[in-house]
């Protein structure tokens, strides 16, 4: 079942010069329940603008966004309700931390949804379990944590609303390899625990290949490609033309002139093992 549907979405930022192009132009796609969707695109291609429509932070200049077949702008007064159904984790979410303690900060979202006392506490604890925020952190100030830990707490702050769809805008930006792997792991465990639909904007083709069921390619505000990761990454020349690329392993296999091109290291290992096995 389609959980999210974007129909002919166009967004023009107001206030800028009249010659400015639309940040998002006539984009349509459908997201099925439980899918992991990756969004890639050159910087300025409108990815962040696009995802801010999914939870009603931006209103389409033209077109519609449908959540479970209902236009989210049907009743503009109720737009705040969609925010707990479609969670959005911004780039560098740690800059949104503000409470005295980690626990209070993670409670902010669910409290805004009207959760109180025990229900609130249980929800926060459950999420902390899923994302790996240890109880000894609960009473610490979020500002005393390391960069990676802050990111973890900030992501937990959005997950604590238990959204059915969760959108991440470059969740691994500015982290070291271990930090990146941790964030990916958080996303995987949230999904396992809640069966949520996940949408990720990323500049890492490797992450996309490893994680995404389907990939949306944005170029200059328009939807350039939309398909399974394998389909999208089979168009390596087109991707390179718009400033993107395929995962490094795929590039290696391509450069070697092989025709069975893997997307991830694991796949590559499988293929190579088989070849070595054949030759031996």
């Amino acid at each position: 079942m389609a959980i999210l549907e974007v129909r002919n979405l166009t967004h023009t930022y107001s206030g800028n010069s009249p010659f400015m192009n639309d940040a998002v132009k006539d984009v349509s796609f459908t997201v099925e329940k439980g899918e992991i969707i990756g969004i890639i695109g050159h910087t300025g291609s409108g990815k962040s603008t696009l995802v801010q429509h999914l939870n009603g932070l931006l209103k389409p200049t033209e077109g519609n966004v449908l959540f479970e077949n209902e236009d989210i702008w049907e009743n503009p007064k109720e737009i705040r309700k969609i925010r707990s159904k479609v969670g959005l984790v911004f780039q560098y979410p740690e800059y949104q931390l503000f409470e005295e303690t980690v626990f209070k900060d993670i409670s902010f979202g669910p409290r805004n949804m009207g959760l109180e006392s025990e229900a609130l506490e249980n929800t926060v604890k459950e999420i902390c379990g899923i994302v790996g925020v240890k109880p000894e952190f609960f009473e610490k100030s979020p500002f005393d944590l390391s960069g990676g830990e802050k990111r973890r707490v900030a992501i937990a702050g959005v997950m604590a609303m238990k959204p059915q769809v969760i959108v991440f805008d470059e969740p691994t930006a500015g982290l070291d390899p271990k930090g990146r792997e941790d964030v990916m792991e958080i996303i995987r465990s949230y999904r396992k625990a809640t069966n949520a639909t996940v949408i990720i904007i990323s500049h890492s083709m490797e992450d996309m290949a490893a994680l995404a069921d389907k990939v949306i390619v944005m170029n200059k505000g328009s939807l350039y490609m939309f398909g399974t990761a394998r389909e999208v990454f089979s168009h390596s020349d087109e991707l390179r033309k718009i400033g993107l690329n395929v995962p490094i392993v795929s590039q290696v296999f391509e450069a070697l002139g092989l025709n069975n091109i893997p997307l991830t290291v694991d796949e590559a290992v499988e293929i190579l093992k088989k070849r070595v096995g054949d030759n031996a």
Binding site: L88, Q96, G109, G157
Partner: protein, 269 residues
């Protein structure tokens, strides 16, 4: 929403006023303000009106923009007018109820005061519309430079630097505030509804991150400045020297005529 806040509202155009030296413009604006207050009768104020309108026109800034500035202070304007309406009891009585009387003198006074304020707003807007924030601070620094000789050696430079940095970071802070607002809205924060107390409370999740990031930015900026050997104003030279030009001469002649006009009309009538 936040984007509507304009500051250092420079309007790019080519005009005599734009070309004037910021120092001259600042001094002339001060002269204008003093003279608008000095004008005591209808005739001198009418002359001031004509002169201000002349300046607005040659600045080539759309009149719409000046009117926009008035909108921001109409409450002050209305308040002043109403207070003055009751203040005077000279002239013919127009309306009278209970112990209050509105006289022709009162009406005259109300219009007079309101007009003065409008002229003040217009003339100071000319300065901000035709001068970039940077050249404004340069001008202020240059004008305050005599203070160096009374022991405030570095203070003038530091003051000007502080102003420049503040102006430079206003757009950055607005952008940042908008990002944080969006992030908190995504967590269900309600910024639009609720009582006054609730709305003030709703600002906390925005102000705290904003404050923290400003402090962080300040440290980063200070470090970057030190890396580039910034040590205050000592021995610093300017890339763009302020120099006087023909436009400035015109401006000075204009203000001289204006001064004579106002004072003359004040004396004659």
């Amino acid at each position: 929403m936040l984007k509507d806040i304009t500051f250092g509202q420079y309007y790019d155009a080519t005009s005599v006023v734009h070309k004037c030296d910021p120092r001259v413009k600042i001094l002339l604006m001060i002269a204008f303000i003093v003279l608008i207050f000095v004008s005591q009768n209808m005739f001198s104020l009418a002359f001031a009106c004509v002169s201000v309108i002349f300046v607005l026109l040659i600045s080539r800034v759309p009149i719409k923009l000046f009117l926009k500035n008035l909108k921001a202070i109409w409450v002050v304007l209305a308040f002043t007018a109403v207070i003055n309406l009751f203040y005077s009891n000279t002239g013919k009585v127009l309306v009278s109820f209970w112990i209050v009387e509105i006289t022709t003198g009162g009406v005259y006074r109300a219009v007079f005061m309101a007009l003065r304020i409008i002229l003040l707003i217009f003339i100071s807007s000319v300065l901000t519309y035709t001068t970039t924030p940077n050249s404004l601070t340069d001008g202020i620094e240059s004008l305050l430079s005599p203070l160096k000789y009374i022991g405030l050696k570095n203070a003038v430079h530091i003051f000007a630097m502080m102003m420049t940095i503040a102006l430079r970071f206003i757009p950055t802070l607005i952008e940042e505030a908008e990002k944080i607002m969006n992030a908190q809205k995504a967590r269900g924060a309600d910024l639009e509804n609720g009582s006054l107390v609730e709305r003030v409370k709703a600002l906390i999740p925005i102000l705290i991150p904003l404050l923290i990031s400003s402090v962080r930015r300040a440290y980063e900026l200070a470090e970057a400045m030190e890396c580039r050997c910034y040590n205050g104003g000592v021995g610093k030279t300017r890339m763009k020297q302020l120099t006087l030009s023909v436009s400035d001469l015109y401006a000075i002649i204009f203000i001289a005529v204006f001064t004579c006009g106002i004072i003359g009309l004040n004396i004659i009538f």
